[in-house]
């Protein structure tokens, strides 16, 4: 339009105009020129018909809030090239905020930050030399960034990047929290300080101009250089197996980046818009986050050729049984993988996934390095003393100072993975947390033809095993039997008075069987000193009924035996309690009652020389008409033996007269009279023996309960009799003569009367 104007004005007018303007120009020119320093299209030269050196660009000069030549990059650069201000390195050498593109849907540009007439971001979106916003004054060096709004704590950034600012919702890196590890190097690299030095803001990581990294981060981050400035402890991940550049180089993260593109941190974490908490940037299988962050790769369904945890693995997402005792080095986590003292055991409780070797920050392992109990991203070394396991399983600590520490007693015994105890640690000799052979995280081969629960012990305690010196012998307490015969039957569910019952797989279950582990706790040598832990002195000692990995101290009280055999425990305090009547008498093992325990005076649990009742005392001599059960009694009730004062002068029943004891009696009734075979087993037809009428463990059928404080002397109808004679099986055969016959055969004086 201006170019079409013809200057056909009268000369006089021109002269008059110039004469006026010649003085006015001097004052007017500088201010006009100052505007046109940037607003080049405002220069009057474009309004003449003269050929200008550059083209006039119409249409966008005076339009408010639109980008024209004035905001073009060339105008900015024409001063910022070093000859007015040097922004070459700051702005143009490296990366800078995108301009001359339309904002994406992830960005919301408020009306106060203008877009160009094309709806694009441009320099003027954030900057204006007219300083409507910040900073009103230049800094100490006289510099001003001419931002439209003050950018204190990156609030200008957050005006558009709302999603990133709302990091809690969008799974982004936390903002506006204090980071104690800010180093000066971060600021030297271009990070901007918040009003409070250590507060995390957008500009902690990002720099709008002169960013050396992609996504305008302050430095190159291909190797996660930026991340590890603050996350210093995590840098030990680099070159470890968890550096996915080494182990999964072809697998992309959720942002569709290869590890080589994302860097080692970025392979699993994204600072913005992650797929879940913890900035997680990989695909997640269904389930709680804390577990799936690991299991998505290491679970049984993963598609990668990497370590899996196997079918038998340490439980996760479970509450610790001894929460208060768990050291702070082994943190608990919520399901969202946040540290939480009230949380649960997760993979991260034992594993620090960013550090291969807890003992050496420079040992990063490597792609092909096999882990062991000292490495494997564990939070603390678990070899030698199994420190990691025992940090939680403090009730198992006593194992280290016992014969079950194979490092001492079987140093060559290797576990499933071929590790000797000194490498696996004492726990690892029998248990491995992942890829175990079976239940109990068992670390030894298991045979399919035997029950697992049995093999847990017989794996070593067999004739060719490392514990061949400690076998149970042929005559041993029955195993894999139920508790139906126990009197009275247990009522506390899974255990018999805290002694657990097991199924074949080794699981504690109600109504199941008695196994080795019912009586033995293989981690605790001395149940009376269960809290001993590391100060327990290893002695490699020979056990007795007070230790020997028993669940309960069994001497002198025989509390262990009494847990199941409650009806037999009534013997305590009676004449058959040798604590009372023969404290110095020794059993076949040379133990006094104090050493053997009350039950142990007469019974061996293992390695008994006698199959019958696992008898632990010398058998007495028996006459022709007597059976093996009588020999148990006559071992003591005979001349020169401890019960020589209690020898019946006459006590026999014709052996040829067999008796049937089940036809008219309820086997569970109080008046049932047991008969015993040659091996001491109960039979339905046989001969009477001492134990048919006497219950050696019960002083009086009337009392029905023990009286441990008394040493009852046999009187009248008591004398360990099972029941009143009038109701016995004797009456069945002998009818009214029963009493006469009884007295005849048991009372010499009465026999004399009858004579």
């Amino acid at each position: 339009m201006f170019r079409s104007i013809s200057f056909a004005y009268p000369f006089i007018i021109m002269v008059a105009f110039l004469s006026i303007s010649s003085t006015a120009t001097a004052a007017y020119m500088p201010s006009r020129r100052d505007c046109a320093i940037c607003h080049v299209m405002w220069i009057d030269d474009f309004r003449t018909d003269k050929e200008t050196l550059i083209e006039w660009q119409p249409g966008n000069v005076l339009m408010k809030d639109t980008q024209g030549v004035v905001s073009s990059e060339d105008i900015c650069y024409s001063c910022h090239d070093g000859y007015v201000l040097d922004s070459r390195s700051t702005v143009w050498k490296f990366n800078q905020h995108k301009t001359f593109i339309k904002p994406t849907t992830r960005v919301t540009v408020p009306p106060s930050l203008t877009l160009s007439n094309k709806g694009e971001l441009y320099c003027g979106t954030c900057h204006t030399p007219h300083v409507t916003g910040s900073p009103p004054e230049a800094d100490l060096a006289g510099l001003t960034t001419f931002l439209r709004k003050k950018n204190v704590d990156s609030n200008l950034c957050e005006m558009c990047h709302i999603n990133q600012a709302d990091y809690r919702v969008t799974n982004g890196h936390p903002l506006h929290i204090m980071e104690p590890n800010f180093s000066d190097s971060l600021f030297q690299m271009g990070s901007k300080k918040a009003a409070e030095r250590n507060k995390i803001i957008c500009q902690t990581c990002h720099i709008v101009h002169g960013a050396k990294g992609e996504k305008i981060v302050i430095t190159e981050n291909k190797n996660s250089e930026l991340c590890i400035i603050c996350h210093d402890k995590q840098k030990q991940l680099v070159n470890s197996k968890h550096d996915l550049r080494l182990t999964l180089p072809d697998v992309k993260n959720a942002k569709q980046q290869l590890p080589s593109e994302s860097g080692p941190c970025g392979a699993c974490h994204a600072p913005h818009n992650a797929v879940n908490k913890r900035l997680w940037a990989r695909q997640l299988a269904p389930g709680n986050l804390a577990a799936q962050m690991c299991l998505t790769c290491h679970g049984s369904k993963n598609i990668y050729d990497i370590k899996q945890i196997g079918q038998h693995s340490h439980p996760i997402n479970v509450a610790p049984s001894v929460k208060d005792a768990i050291p702070h080095e082994l943190p608990l986590f919520s399901e969202s993988a946040a540290r939480n003292p009230a949380g649960r055991i997760q993979c991260f409780t034992c594993h620090e996934v960013h550090r291969w070797d807890p003992s050496s920050p420079i040992n990063t392992g490597g792609k092909d390095i096999e882990g062991d109990a000292a490495t494997s991203f564990l939070r603390m070394s678990n070899s030698r003393s199994s420190t990691l396991c025992l940090a939680c399983h403090i009730d198992k600590k006593q194992l280290v100072a016992s014969d079950h520490n194979l490092e001492v007693t079987a140093p060559d015994e290797k576990n499933l993975f071929g590790f000797a105890p000194q490498d696996s640690g004492p726990c690892g000799a029998c248990h491995i947390p992942h890829n175990a052979a079976g239940n109990k995280l068992w670390a030894k081969e298991l045979s399919a033809d035997k029950e697992v629960v049995t093999q847990l012990c017989t794996g070593c305690h067999h004739k060719d095993g490392s514990a061949k010196a400690k076998l149970v012998g042929q005559n041993s307490h029955p195993l894999n039997v139920g508790i139906e015969k126990l009197k009275p039957p247990p009522t506390d569910g899974q255990t018999v008075k805290s002694l657990p019952l097991y199924d074949g797989g080794g699981n504690i279950k109600a109504g199941q069987k008695i196994v080795c582990l019912t009586c033995h706790e293989p981690h605790t040598w001395d149940p009376g000193n269960g809290g001993a832990g590391s100060d327990y002195v290893f002695k490699n000692m020979e056990g007795d009924n007070s230790n020997s990995f028993l669940r309960k101290v069994n001497s002198p009280s025989s509390a262990l035996c009494g847990s199941c055999h409650a009806d037999k425990a009534l013997v305590a305090g009676t004449a058959h309690d040798l604590n009372v009547t023969a404290p110095e008498a020794k059993n076949l093992g040379g133990q006094t009652v104090k050493e053997s325990g009350l039950c142990g005076t007469c019974h061996f649990v293992h390695n008994s020389p006698n199959k019958v009742k696992l008898w632990a005392r010398p058998l007495g001599r028996v006459k022709k008409h007597q059976g093996v059960m009588d020999a148990l009694c006559t071992g003591c009730h005979s001349k020169k033996n401890i019960a020589q004062k209690k020898i019946p002068r006459i006590a026999w029943h014709p052996r040829e007269k067999l008796i049937i004891n089940t036809t008219q009696f309820n086997k569970k009734g109080n008046d049932y009279t047991p008969l015993f075979g040659d091996n001491g087993q109960e039979v339905e037809m046989g001969n009477i023996s001492c134990t048919s009428c006497h219950n050696a463990h019960l002083w009086s059928y009337l009392v029905g309960q023990k009286n441990a404080t008394e040493n009852p002397e046999g009187k009248g109808a008591y004398k360990f009799l099972r029941t009143a004679s009038k109701n016995t099986v004797c009456v069945v055969c002998h009818g009214p003569e029963a009493l006469f016959r009884y007295l005849y055969f048991h009372d010499p004086e009465m026999r004399a009367t009858f004579k």
């Binding site: 320093i37 080049v40 090239d81």
Partner: protein
């Protein structure tokens, strides 16, 4: 004064001829011929100088180094790295080479001048001192004069020309912020002619000022505007053996030619068309080869052209 005379002449002529587009001013051309480019892999290079043997020294300031090429554009060597120690740079901008072969570098970010031999061996350095109340020195160019071994330094942020001897001893200075004669708004690249006159690009005053060797103002070259002979962002200045003053304009992308008294001669053209450059800044005239080396900052190259008239 010259400007007023031109306007007066224009008005007299206007009395006799109706003003029409047909008589509009047409751009005079200074003919040139493109020879070749040097694309050295630099990042926003700013200035160049010619050694006595014809080698080209280029300031690759963002990369904190000096790149050396032979006259055919083949790279010979580089020297310098980022830092503040001897031989290290922080975003240098300007360069000049004295007749005796000393290479002077305006080490801008380090607020100093460094001196090297032609092989890049460090010789010495000196700080560009400032006075109380001044900003930190911002030396953007150096000019080694034959007269008294003066070394002129343009202190951009302080709007002064500071003169040292070539050992680094301060001699004198002139200039202040302003638009008058001898005042500056961001003085930049320097050049001299055979009379040791000093030509200073006065960036935001959109002119080149000439001075005698002692700082006495002589002339203004170029003026505000976008017409031929006007300047918008003058950056570089070079003077040929005929005392023609070549001025580059980084925004307009042109090189205009003036007499040393400021009379506009024309725009550097090629094939009678204005030759466009990409942000032309520092220039150096190789009179022996009749070449003009033009550093194109954002194109990251040196254009070598021959001036034909």
């Amino acid at each position: 004064m010259i400007k007023n005379k031109s306007i007066f002449a224009y008005l007299i002529i206007s009395l006799f001829f109706p003003i029409s587009p047909d008589l509009a001013h047409s751009v005079e051309c200074i003919r040139s011929k493109f020879l070749f480019d040097i694309r050295p892999g630099a990042d926003q290079p700013s200035d160049a100088a010619i050694a006595p043997n014809g080698d080209i020294y280029l300031v690759d300031g963002v990369n904190n180094r000096i790149m050396i090429f032979d006259s055919n554009g083949r790279q010979k060597f580089v020297f310098g790295t980022e830092g503040a120690a001897e031989g290290e740079f922080r975003h240098p901008l300007g360069i000049d080479i004295s007749d005796d072969g000393n290479v002077f570098i305006a080490d801008t970010g380090n607020h100093r001048v460094q001196v090297f031999d032609l092989k890049g061996n460090f010789l010495h350095l000196f700080a560009v001192k400032t006075e109380p109340g001044e900003k930190p020195a911002d030396p953007v160019d150096v000019l080694a004069s034959k007269l008294k071994n003066y070394l002129y330094v343009s202190d951009n942020d302080n709007h002064k020309i500071k003169v040292f001897n070539q050992r680094g001893n301060f001699e004198f200075q002139w200039g202040k912020f302003g638009e008058g004669a001898g005042e500056f708004r961001y003085p930049g690249i320097l050049a001299s002619n055979e009379f040791n006159q000093v030509f200073v690009v006065d960036v935001l005053n959109t002119r080149v000022q000439s001075f005698d060797p002692f700082g006495k103002h002589l002339d203004d070259i170029g003026s505000w505007g976008v017409l031929p002979g006007n300047l918008f962002r003058p950056k570089g200045v070079a003077i040929d053996k005929n005392n023609r003053v070549f001025v580059s304009d980084s925004y307009m992308g042109l090189i205009q030619v003036f007499t040393d008294l400021g009379r506009f001669l024309g725009v550097v053209c090629e094939s009678n068309v204005k030759r466009k450059f990409t942000t032309p800044v520092g220039m150096v005239m190789d009179d022996k080869r009749n070449r003009l080396y033009v550093v194109e900052m954002r194109a990251n190259k040196i254009s070598i052209i021959e001036i034909l008239n």
